[in-house]
Amino acid sequence: MEQSSEFDLDLAIQHQLDAYNAQGMLSPIDRDELLDHLYEQTQDLMRQGLSTEEAFLISQKRLGTAEVLSSEYQKARPWTRLVQFFAFAIIFLFGLKMMLNLMQIVSLSASVLVNQFLPEQLSLFLEWGDVSLQIASIIIALVVASRLIKRISASKLKNLWPVLLTYLISEIARFTMVMIATQNLGITSYSQLSINLSYMMWGMRAIGMLFVLGMLIRHRNLSLQLA
């Protein structure tokens, strides 16, 4: 029972900050500011002879409850919630399109490679290999996306330009790949290549959209610091 009587100030402060940020109103800078406040006040009170735990409890009480603080921050930044929601929506939607672009790039490069080195296997690949590749890449992309989302929120993303720029690059890469594939595979349009896959693609898109929606709902409390 020795350990339970030890009071861990760092942990207590982190928990308290999480409680303050339950509504997602605190930016990383706000968090640092409140953390600094709690540490300083706790140390001040400890110098007056209080134990760490007593000092922390008083500092916490003086700073105010999570509900009060949250609503005060919300009043100071009335548009934050909406801006955050749209920012996340944009990141998710462009992220999804980037994922689909990546999928096409992977699939087309694989087709070109097969055509280059194993031309007799091309029809078989287009029928089976390509589909499995696409499914595999979308699954990988979904897993990566769900891992990345918390990092995106924690990072100090000041605006959405990096997202839009990455998206643009992926769009250019996809277009280039379509051109290469069209020439290399001797087909006149990309749609000829993917005609068998169109239902599949719409299915994937629907799954992707559901994923985006699910993520938005699940992570509605994450804050994104857009200055």
Binding site: L34, D36, Y39, G64, V68, E72, Y73, A76
Partner: protein, 114 residues
């Protein structure tokens, strides 16, 4: 026991007090709270958490600026008064002086009647 200032008055006086303190020099939240307590001898008990959103509002309105300084291994957010803040403070000082003057005259007159 000293008299505590009511919530409404605290809310009304927070901005002029913050601006006046920042006029003395750049400062951070916790220190501002401590100084107010010291100067008012404990009569002005701010709801500490509410000060930070007030600082956000003041910064948004362009009266103060903030910057981060690394101190004691932590990121400390300092605030400084800018030109707009200084002129806003001058205006606030005039308003408060008027209120002060009016109340003083009323109470002094009353005192002389009794």
């Amino acid at each position: 026991m000293y008299t505590m200032v009511s919530k409404d008055l605290i809310a009304a006086s927070t901005i002029p007090i913050v601006l006046s303190l920042l006029k003395e020099g750049d400062n951070y939240g916790y220190q501002l709270i401590k100084e107010v307590q010291k100067i008012s001898d404990g009569a002005l008990q701010w709801k500490e958490g509410s000060l930070y959103p007030v600082l956000i509002k003041l910064e948004k309105n362009g009266l103060i600026k903030s910057y981060i300084k690394k101190e004691e291994g932590r990121n400390r957010k300092y605030y400084s008064l800018n030109e707009r803040g200084k002129s806003a403070l001058v205006k606030l000082q005039e308003e408060w002086k008027l209120v002060n003057l009016t109340l003083n005259q009323l109470w002094n007159n009353q005192a002389s009647l009794t």
